[in-house]
């Protein structure tokens, strides 16, 4: 007896699991059962699993009977004439969708040539094995599998033309590529997904060579001339949203230029860009600390009687200003009301981003690189025909990663660019390498894609022939402008008086325990002490009771509250964190006593 499970729950028993599963499939193909039912007979566990839940990933396959695909030329003709649709073919039992479990019972042929009577299914196209983004990688069958996944992952991070209505959208943290292009070397997934309606890259000329060592370790060299012509240029949008909140007692926020009496008033300079309604004007150039939306709020604690009676109109400044290191131009201002009926002000800041050293670029094969140097056009190497590459890519990135598809795209796009056509590079179904090579030869180039090049600085011919070709390059959203960070002095934490953490808070770079150990290992005691001086404090300590004393600023003298005026008090230098732990001990009822000794 074979157990049958329906959606993971025990349902009943059947005599013959295999026959039962087969019967279920027949019924499904006939349309008696829903197309969404999948059945799987597990021989080892001796159980039949029937699944009808949502959320399973399923893929379509052509049904094969007696070594013959059920999809015939007749179907294809009908499809071309729009007489039948995809759903019709499923209803006819020509195509069915299998989930991961049911696929285990099946034998799927890769293409028609492979078909034998044992086969149960045939791939519609090998492309269906991949996801949407992975299918966009050209010449995918010429690359190491892992690179295919990396290539897909990188494409998701690329900057492109994400939505046609971007001028009226208030998206959080988006980038927009300025001159997006359609790739020359493409797969059918580009057409199926209408990639040309939302392109995400540019066709560039790539030379695979070194340039003064500035493209070692996956760095790339960019041509300054290309950048001036708009290569890789993008805009970064960031909205600032403010809401006039209502508080108890009929009080509410007010979007306006704060008065000088307002608690926490910044400086006049900071509010200079605001118009009378308290919002910046469009096309204003804003820099860090500049107020974008002026706002005043009621005081935090109404219970504070003094504040309430004496000056009930004392308000608190709560404007939104640009964060440290941020700059841009006010692009769009939207004043409206939200669901709760509160006034909301939305301001979008735009910032043009021209590629700079440290920005990240990638080809579609997981060959990412960071800009290492931007070279003036006249200093770039050039080919015999005068072509100057936009990007110089390091040859060391190729052998270990085995991205042959990267090279194939290069010559493929070269042919496409010169002969003015698109090149099909759909996985397992692409234009053959030989054909590309032959065409390249016919166009008057070396069939292996190499060209004679000349040094831009000296004008000398290079000894080696350089592999040059066209490629579709993507700019990734990781740009240095959003990441660069340094600090000499800056904000500290209230509790420990140590520097704050993180770029957003202009924090310090932590010198951790293991880093500390290296100082100790070098025996550089004084340097270590100096490095940890960030929270240094000098506290008066009572020699008698060993507790921190009080400094009286009027008398310019320290006194100990327990031992009186006569006790001897000395100043001691220590880290604030240690002073804090002493205070914490005291709060726990522990008496930490300092015994002072002269160190020297």
């Amino acid at each position: 007896m074979v157990d049958v499970y329906l959606n993971g729950l025990y349902f009943g028993e059947v005599q013959n699991g295999e026959a039962f599963a087969k019967q279920v499939r027949e019924e499904r193909r006939k349309g008696v059962l829903s197309q969404n039912v999948n059945v799987y007979y597990n021989h080892e566990m001796n159980q039949v699993l029937i699944e009808s839940d949502k959320g399973r990933v399923r893929r379509p396959l052509i049904i094969v009977r007696d070594g013959m695909a059920l999809l015939t030329d007749k179907h294809i003709k009908q499809l071309q004439k729009n007489e039948i649709t995809w759903t019709d073919m499923i209803k006819q039992g020509v195509i069915e969708l299998l989930d991961a479990a049911e696929e285990e019972n099946m034998l799927v042929a890769f293409d028609e040539k492979e078909l034998t009577p044992e086969h149960t299914h045939l791939e519609i196209t090998p492309l269906t094995m991949l996801g949407l983004v992975t299918a966009l990688v050209p010449y995918g069958n010429y690359t190491q599998g892992a690179r295919l996944s990396i290539g897909a992952k990188n494409q998701k991070q690329s900057i492109g033309f994400y939505a046609a209505n971007f001028p009226v959208r208030m998206d959080m943290d988006v980038n927009l590529l300025h001159y997006p292009q359609s790739p020359i070397v493409r797969t059918i997934a580009h057409d199926l997904s209408e990639f040309d309606k939302h392109p995400a890259g540019q066709n560039v000329i790539v030379a695979i060579m070194s340039y003064k060592g500035y493209n070692i370790e996956d760095a790339i060299i960019l041509n300054k001339g290309s950048l001036d012509r708009g290569l890789g240029r993008s805009t970064y949008f960031r909205p600032v949203i403010v809401e006039e909140l209502r508080y108890s007692g009929g009080l509410m926020d007010k979007v306006s230029i704060p008065d000088k009496e307002v608690k926490g008033y910044k400086s006049e300079k900071d509010y200079r860009l605001l118009e009378n309604d308290g919002v910046v004007f469009v096309e204003a150039k804003v820099k860090e600390e500049d107020v974008v939306i002026g706002k005043v709020s009621p005081p935090r604690f109404l219970s504070s009687l003094e504040e309430y009676s004496l000056a009930s109109n004392i308000k608190r400044e709560s404007s939104v200003s640009l964060k440290h290191g941020e700059e841009g131009i006010i692009d769009f201002v939207l004043i409206s009301e939200n669901e709760e009926g509160n006034k909301t002000v939305q301001v979008r800041i735009r910032d043009q981003r021209i590629p700079e050293i440290g920005d990240k670029f990638v080809s579609r094969h997981g060959q990412k690189g960071v800009v290492g140097l931007i070279v003036p056009e006249q200093d770039m190497p050039f080919t015999a025909s005068g072509i100057i590459p936009d990007i110089i890519f390091s040859p060391h990135s190729i052998p270990s990663r085995m991205t042959v598809s990267h090279l194939l795209e290069s010559i493929g796009a070269k042919v496409g660019a010169i002969s003015g056509r698109y090149v099909d590079a759909t996985i397992f179904d692409c234009e053959p390498e030989e054909k590309i090579r032959k065409e390249l030869l016919e166009l008057g180039f070396a069939e292996n894609g190499t060209e004679t090049m000349y040094d831009g600085l000296t004008g000398r011919r290079m000894q080696a022939r350089i592999f040059v070709g066209n490629m579709y390059y993507l700019k990734l959203k990781h740009m240095v402008a959003n990441k660069i960070h340094s600090r000499a002095r800056g904000p500290i934490q209230l509790l420990t008086r140590q520097p704050t953490e993180g770029r957003a808070k202009e924090g310090g770079l932590r010198l951790g325990e293991m880093e500390k150990d290296t100082f100790v290992a070098h025996g550089s005691a004084l340097l270590l002490k100096e490095r940890f001086d960030s929270d240094k404090t000098v506290v008066p300590v009572c020699e008698e009771c060993g507790v921190i004393a009080i400094y009286d600023a009027f008398k310019e003298k320290s006194t100990c509250p327990t031992c009186g005026e006569t006790a001897e008090i000395n100043d001691v230098e220590m880290s604030y964190a240690f002073k804090l732990i002493l205070d914490e001990f005291k709060s726990l009822g522990v008496y930490p006593r300092l015994k002072l000794v002269n160190k020297y």
């Binding site: 150990d517 290992a521 025996g523 005691a525 940890f532 001086d533 230098e573 880290s575 240690f578």
Partner: protein, 370 residues
């Protein structure tokens, strides 16, 4: 002592002087001695050098390499021994029960030639009744157990039925009778069935022959002589055997070595075991770092691990102990007894942001004011 190098007697140790006398040519002896002193002085560790920390870094950095490449010896006729990082941690933690105790038993001359090694090895291996039993039968009516023994196995191991009987009699509370290849155990008083089952389990584990703890034996030929490698370790009992070379026989159980030979031997064992792991991994750690670790682990007279219960608990500073694992425990105990921290070491001074007594922080010099 030669006249020429008399003046160096105090500057060099006895071993170096002996080497000098043996190797340096007579004519250049004085020059060689002078050069040796120079080299010797430059090899010395400077005062205030943070030797402990450098030791920790030197072993720790290499340890990170080890986690990544662990070797597996598939299909090799050696015993499975814990090696690599797990073994290193085990040694440095000073564990009393190690995962794979192992012995290398060297043999005295006539035995080491290889004749009868297999038999000697079998003599070591602990055999229980369960190992040689063929069939059990429980007689519930008479409250007795009958065990039929495998004669072939007994013959191989040179065990007689009477030996089995005697062993069983000693270690169980049942009445034992033997007959041909069958041994019968009958409960003495009227006890219930569970006692009979307990007896069955009990009798199964009765050792008949061999040394307690030696689970497996293997004979190996190394440099022309035969030795026995065992899984499981019992140094004390093995050394009592007359065919064993007591000078070279060893175990990888450091705790056992310390019990049998004393703390100095344990120190050397730590060094040997750590070096073995290090060398097997192809790492390059200077032996002096390991010497320091071994010394620290054994100074107190017993083996202590580098853990919060071991050497760290010996630290004099409360703050230093609290900064390593379980701070509350140390702070509470310090509070209860009113402990004083004299701030003599590194960690506590870093906490206070005071000068650490290491390197340039060590000399206590003051500028004269005049």
């Amino acid at each position: 002592m030669k006249e020429e190098i008399k003046e160096y007697e105090e500057k060099l140790n006895a071993y170096l002087i002996k080497e000098l006398l043996e190797n340096a040519p007579q004519s250049k002896l004085k020059k060689a001695a002078k050069k040796t002193v120079e080299e010797y002085e430059s090899a010395k560790v400077d005062p205030g050098e943070a030797v402990g920390l450098i030791c920790a870094e030197s072993i720790g950095e290499q340890g990170t390499q080890m986690t990544l490449d662990t070797f597996h010896f598939a299909g090799v006729a050696e015993m499975n021994v814990t090696m690599g990082l797990p073994r290193l941690i085990e040694i440095l933690d000073g564990r009393k029960e190690i995962t794979t105790p192992m012995m290398e038993i060297f043999l005295k001359h006539p035995y080491s030639t290889g004749k009868n090694v297999k038999e000697l090895a079998m003599e070591l291996k602990q055999t229980t009744i369960g190992d040689i039993a063929k069939e059990y039968s429980l007689n519930i009516a008479d409250m007795k157990i009958q065990i039929i023994l495998n004669e072939q196995k007994m013959k191989n191991l040179k065990i007689t039925i009477s030996q089995v009987g005697k062993a069983a009699e000693k270690l169980t509370k049942a009445k034992i009778t033997t007959e041909n290849n069958m041994i019968e155990a009958k409960l003495k008083d009227n006890q219930d069935l569970s006692a009979l089952y307990a007896l069955k389990e009990n009798i199964h584990d009765v050792p008949v022959k061999g040394i307690k703890g030696i689970r497996q034996v293997l004979t190996v030929e190394r440099n022309g002589e035969f030795l026995i490698i065992t899984a499981g370790s019992n140094l004390k009992k093995v050394l009592e055997l007359e065919f064993v070379d007591t000078e070279r026989t060893t175990t990888n159980d450091i705790y056992e070595i310390s019990k049998t030979f004393g703390i100095e031997a344990a120190r050397q064992a730590i060094i040997n075991e750590v070096m073995r792991v290090v060398e097997a991994q192809g790492l390059n750690i200077d032996i002096r770092h390991i010497l320091l670790v071994a010394d620290t682990m054994t100074v107190s007279g017993e083996v202590k691990g580098i853990t919060r219960y071991g050497v760290v608990s010996e630290k004099s500073s409360v703050l230093a102990r609290a900064s390593f694992e379980t701070p509350l425990k140390h702070l509470i105990n310090a509070t209860l007894v009113g402990e004083i921290d004299s701030l003599n070491s590194v960690v506590e001074n870093v906490m206070l942001n005071q000068l650490i007594p290491v390197g340039t922080g060590l000399p206590k010099l003051k500028v004269k004011n005049d």
